[in-house]
Subunit: 417 residues, 2 copies
């Protein structure tokens, strides 16, 4: 890092040159704080980092060795915009675990499923279009919808997931107002940030409504195979092909550093996705695709997912136990898979305002407002149990209880309610 050219100031000589959409990019209000969170003494319940240490390095090494031996030059070269054919065929097997039967022709490999969302946003969203979403909804998707200047309408969501009645009512009202609704965006399994899973009965009703109303469902499913029960939920895409675009990822069942996700879409949309992918980055990384392909071909990848499931279930238990022990009066969701708890604070406590106090107590979380496009979530926070050890989860929630209880006392005493 030596010998750097001194930096100029940040005055922007090009302010008059940006496109309108550049104004949609904003620095996260909590970003500065998260730099502090990386200090080792802070228990971070904030990030969504999978616990990659549980992936035996020998598995990656074996995959790399056979890849370089068998397809080294191919892995180092440019590939096609749709992604590698063998990997797409293997992805069919991954998706089959959740009841999906698909053609390799309809799968497009993306640079993480975030990029799949970005491509879909680019293909479908004109400024002012409406995206329907859960309450709360995934922060990365909200950022993309904002970037394409779409309006996000959050719909009523409870412990059974998105409410179909609210969906129907909202569509009716928006259509009456002449709005163009493009997507219903959902994380139906072990949602981020809610931890909630959409019931099967509601899945069917929602698909029926969207089919009738001609609205595309984006079924975003990074966590579905990280279930804590007996079997994974059945994907909506398994019983509806034409109005569901399904997004999957290797980030949570293998490793996010590889940046490989995939989109399964109806043929005409898939064709456009391939073109958009080529325009955006020529082709996804052949190298990381091949590494994953060798891994799926030669390792016990389902056994590895079982390992991950065991780890995350233990951490979920640690988180719920700690909530019951230290914050028994607070409402929290009880996820059957995935990475997250969604906690509702006592009335009057602002989770974003409380965050600096929490960091002072050496614990971090994500304030609920990150998961709403409309300012909602003030009295909520997301706890991630994916990365810290069970002991640290307990310690972190204990510290969090100290902060919350102190805030509640202050409110009782000085009566801000």
């Amino acid at each position: 890092m030596s010998n750097e050219t001194p930096r100029g100031n940040n005055f922007d000589h090009w302010l008059d040159s940006y496109a309108a959409r550049a104004n949609t990019l904003s620095v996260s209000e909590v970003r500065a704080l998260f730099a502090v969170v990386s200090r080792p003494e802070v228990v971070s319940l904030a990030g969504g980092m999978p616990f990659v240490s549980a992936l035996p390095k020998e598995l990656m090494e074996a995959s790399f060795d056979s890849m370089m031996t068998e397809r080294g030059n191919y892995a180092l070269q440019y590939g096609g915009g749709q992604g590698d054919l063998r990997l797409r065929d293997q992805i069919r097997e991954v998706m089959a675990l959740e009841g999906i039967h698909a053609s390799v022709e309809d799968i497009v490999i993306t640079t993480g499923s975030q990029q799949g969302l970005d491509l879909l946003g680019g293909l479908f969203l004109d400024a002012g279009d409406v995206v329907l979403a859960e309450s709360p909804s995934y922060v990365g998707a909200l950022g993309i919808f904002r970037h394409y200047e779409a309006h996000v309408e959050h719909l009523h969501t409870d412990h059974e997931g998105l409410d179909p009645d609210a969906l129907e009512a909202s569509i009716k009202q928006l259509k009456a107002e002449g709005r163009r609704i493009k997507f219903l965006y959902l994380v139906p399994n072990f949602g981020n940030p809610s931890g909630v899973t959409l019931t099967e009965e509601r899945r069917h009703r929602i698909v029926e409504i969207c089919r009738r109303e001609h609205i595309l469902i984006l079924e975003d499913n990074p966590y579905g195979l990280l279930y804590f029960g007996e079997k994974p939920p059945v994907a909506m895409r398994s019983y509806e092909e034409d109005c569901v675009i399904y997004l999957g990822s290797f980030s949570k069942i293998l490793a996010p550093g590889l940046r490989v996700g995939y989109v399964l879409a109806p043929p005409a949309i898939r064709d456009k996705l391939v073109l958009a992918n080529e325009s955006a980055l020529l082709s996804p990384s052949t190298f990381t695709q091949m590494l994953i392909s060798e891994y799926l071909a030669k390792s016990d990848w389902q056994g590895q997912i079982d390992t991950f499931r065991g780890i995350y279930r233990e951490r979920r238990d640690a988180a719920l136990d700690a909530m019951a022990e230290y914050l028994p009066h607070l409402h929290t969701t009880r996820p059957d898979g995935g990475f997250y708890l969604w906690v509702t604070l006592p009335e009057g406590i602002d989770s974003k305002a409380m965050l600096p106090l929490a960091v002072t107590e050496l614990v971090a979380y994500t304030p609920g407002t990150a998961f709403y496009a409309n300012g909602g979530g003030k009295s909520n926070l997301r706890i991630s149990f994916c990365y810290p050890t069970p002991d640290n989860i307990n310690l972190g929630i204990k510290r969090l209880a100290t902060v919350i209880n102190r805030q509640a006392e202050l409110l009782d005493t000085f009566g801000a309610r």
Copy 2:
């Protein structure tokens, strides 16, 4: 590939749902033909694939081993939107070879430099904005500008590169018409597809004009270190910081399958690029970044670039020799580096119409129209000498001569001129 669900037809139920920008995506007219080109008996002078076979696999293996040992968990995890700090510092050394002094703070890692162009297009281009470009210009950049609904104005370009007088005249006229000019887009070194290098004198004049007229220069430089002379050309970014955005890539000096490129931008623009990168794909692949970082730290990467230079120089010579032998009457550029020759056909021959005939003769090239946004380039074609062996280059150009001479005879006989 067995057991596939039968595919539906491609009738698009969602035609009324796409965004306006989705119409900018179109299938390349020559794409179908290129599927044929992958047959081994066809000599392809069409693609831009680097000759990755010349990269010793031991180098990649050593980089992988030390990466997994020293930073395995880090490589598998999510990273930051700006890219890894150590790699950015190493990129400073790479850029220093072309005279650039930069701060690590001003470098943003992208998923290939194509993605850097896409992020910049998204940040700056509103529909109807103007991008100034060389004649001919890189097809991938033209696709991005079209995707953001910008108008590309091709400027007069000769064997010394873009003509500064044409630049001044065009700016004057466009401003008089009230148009917003956002970028001057250039591949100044061994251009794709022209093979032409911008002279130093013109670089200075162009920078001066753009500074005065407040127009950003996108200096796209994937080939600069693949020079065939004594030293690489000096980058424009080396003598102008505020109005030059520099794009670099590891695709040609290492391997495109890793999809790692970088953008060096003024601080305010760099801040926005980081946010756009995060929105588009959370973070570039930590895994491929770390692999490159280990490679740069522990291998003789400059020696490896010398190896590549030797190979490509030999192939350039083979291509020019074959042109002199079989097509002595045609004008071709004489590149001092890079991958490409730009050939001008006898008047009246349409290079796109001729392509199927060439493929029948078992040789392929890229028609010139791919490199113009305005229908130009009909009587030009690009020959890539990067991938085939010298013997195959000779054979390919010999076959090409057969096709061209036959076309010329037909024209002479039937007088289509």
